[in-house]
Amino acid sequence: MNQSNLTISRKLLSLNWFIVFLVAVISGIGCLMLYSAANGSWFPWAYSHVIRFSIGMTLMLSIAVVDIRFWMRNAYLLYMIILFFLLVVSLMGEIAMGAQRWIKFSLFHFQPSEFMKICLILALSRYFNGLTYEEIGKKLKLIIPLLMVGIPVFLVLKEPDLGTALIMIAESATIFFLAGVRIWKFFVLIVTAMLSFPLSWHFLREYQQKRILTFLNPDKNESSSGYHILQSKIALGSGGIFGKGFLRGSQSHLNFLPAKQTDFIFTMLAEEFGIFGGTCLIGLYTLILAYGFFVAIRSSSQFGRLVALGVTTTLFLYLFINIAMTVGLIPVVGVPLPMLSYGGTAMLTIMIGLGLLLGVSVHRCVRISSYWY
């Protein structure tokens, strides 16, 4: 059976609609929270969120039905294009929120670093798809993928965007790991990283240093840097088991909670719906993660497997970093919660990723030779 010959409608039928439904539910929850964040108003956030969701959904479904061989074939091209935009941003991008992350188009802000996360997965997957297990064991063969990761990470760090850089490093490491790179090499990497940490401390921006310091001792400086973490913890903790009720989160509505519509939207949810709402949302995400895992296991091509788990891991990284930050487990890093936080590109990134995941599932039986090309 050759699924590449399926018609679009047959492909749509074979899509996992449960996952599509889950994505819609999570985005719906996001919509409700943004409605609440605006003190019970569709404007300015919930409304745009719906529009972005519609665009994202269309994009996700379109990507899902495209033959994965198309993505494989064009992986390097897409990577190069986004890398070009990243360069442009770092050279002349607009300065916003202390970081050069945006390219301003007439209609929307384009954030190349977000798309780089997906393109990096595609490019690395394609690269490792072409290697045999023995070849992967050779050090020389790892130079190219390391460069493929290193260059965009360097550019993103220069912007500076620690969150995105972290996600890119982590997802790439996962792909390296899954592709079969020998375990001892990771240990070497980790040890080198730890040794170089005191050195790299000096390269961090002052506000990044401060964030790490306040994370280590949040109660010390209640009114300035530690304030965000503390207020977030107060909001969460005061939510209790079932929360204060929809639109009744006093912490969020009285502006004690910072960035409640973006990075701290999970806090708001947990304040208004308690631990019940919080764990339910985490559960929904976990279902998608589990689905990604099974898609990867069942895919018959290395490219499909790596893309599927690469995307799943990216989603996981987003959600883990974001939630861990709001509950005070890690320092404040600017990572949004996918499909809930207000903000276009993060949502698009994840939905494009999920489109690829669905696509891998649809095309799970398509075999791709490792000697392709």
Binding site: L178, Q251, F256
Partner: protein
Amino acid sequence: MFRVNERNLQKVFTRRAFILACGKLGLISTLAARLYYLQVVEGERYQLLSLNNQFNSEIILPVRGRIFDRHGVALADNQHIFQLEIVRERTKDVSATLSALSSIIDITERDIRRILEDVKCNHAFTPVIIAKNLTRKEIDRVAVNAPYLPGVSINVNYLRYYPFADIAVHIIGYVSTVSEEELTGDPVLGLPNFRIGKSGLEKMHESEIRGTAGRRQVEVNALGRVIRKLPVDDGKAGCDIKLTLDINLQRFAAERLARGNAKLLLINDPRAQRALKQAEPTIRDYYMDQKTVLVSSNGKAVEAESGAVVVIDVRNGALLVLASLPGYDPNRFNSGWSHKEWKKISNNPRGLLNNKAVSGQYPPGSTFKMLVMLAALESGKATMDTKFYCPGYLSLGNNRFHCWLHYGHGWIDMEQSIAQSCDVYYYDLANKIGIDCIANTAKSFGLGKVTGLDLPGESAGLIPTRDWKLATTGEPWHIGDTLVSGIGQGFDLATPLQLALMTARLANGGKAIVPYIKISSIANRPIEDMGINQNHLNLVCMAMYQSINSPLGTGRKIKGGKNDIKIAGKTGTAQVRRISMLEQQSASHHHENNKPWLYRDHSLFVGFVPVKAPRYAISVVVEHGTGGSYVAAPIAADVLREVMRVDCVDSAD
């Protein structure tokens, strides 16, 4: 080859995918555990913190209850003070508003700079004080121009105000800021401008006068801006207190006592200037910022007298006057005393802070003789006809007990013994009836124990008994003790209030009235009869009448003209220290004015009016005022005349 490679890769992938999945699951569980910890384990703590964030509790200060005299004249009042504030967000241009304001009221360039600085430092919605203590006129001007002064608002505060300043300060007391020890956890007490009663009635009835603070819960956002005001608990204003005091009488009595026998002159009077020149430097200091000067009969400027005047209604114990001198101005606590001023006040030898009327203890002296007389009559050991011979002294062993009249009164009967205040007669009488009999009578007339007045700080005085002396000094009672006790000297001590009460109980036919100063809604206790022979009481009252109205009476100087009110009373001179025999013989102690003030005798007077149907009893103590007939009696007479004048006016109403 292809197959093998593919299988290898898939095997590695699957194995590692499982490891990865387990890792992710572990991390997700960590998140769930953290949520459990924050929201369930620590939930309550964070709920509290959240409530603290959300609500600011504002306290609405209760209006302090006022204190009135018997005619409804306010003795402790609440004065409005007006304060101007500006709120930045309610005006387009703060400095324009301020310059408009400066053309209406008096604000300096420096004030404006200070206000602009304050405005900059505060949130846009926080009011900043422009000026405090505005006059009514200024407030009116601001109010009229309000449309041209956007952002400016008038705020009303209360300030405790005592219109009569030092006249009743020892009774009313004063309010001041809360000290560390007085904090009880009541949040009102923690407010920076809250004041509580520190002495007198203000302290005693604090809980009643203070009222209960209201509370306004305000929901605030992270910046502190008020989002919404929640239902208000207005609190309760403090209760007003009404006193039996007649403040005008009190003022009359206080001013009369202060004057003593001196003349009150304006400071720019040439006689006053001359008197000041002759006076000692301490006296000149004393009159530094005064408008009037007291000039004694010898043309010297003198300090105002100190002491106490008590006027009591003999029928029910209501106090009309309870004056203690000197006093101080309680209004000064609003702005606070400087350390130097306060030291001067608290170290003043004349005792500014004590309410001498209830806490000052003086030997009753000759005013005590009525009780000895009554005790003798009641015991049956003496009658009105009992006579003793007074040679000017009484010998007991090697001691001589002197009469104030050097050459003696000769044979004298009971009525004249009071009228002429013969000491020897009372040595003999006391010796005859014994100390136990005297002490019992004295105690039943309210001496030697607190009277139960509804004011703090009352002293018990002292009526010595055999047991008391043995217990305190370890020595047995001597006859000599009885003798000096008979003329109210020795161990005997009484407060001016006790002396007034004693006189009242003598004058009202032996009714055991209890003095009180606060008119309360509770009906007065039934007044007990002391069970004393009315005839005996009448005889004592008659003797007191003779003391003023007989030609040889010690109080004859204050006997008024034909149309004047008749007074019954008794003078008293209380020795401050035992006079040595040498001094006694040299008779130099009669020149009291030459002694240092602190060693001079206290001058006392007790009395009542009207003679036929007693209504008011008085006691006057002039500290170190020398002879009772010389200083205290004229003061008492003037006060009693004023009392009767006011009484006539009141009953005519």
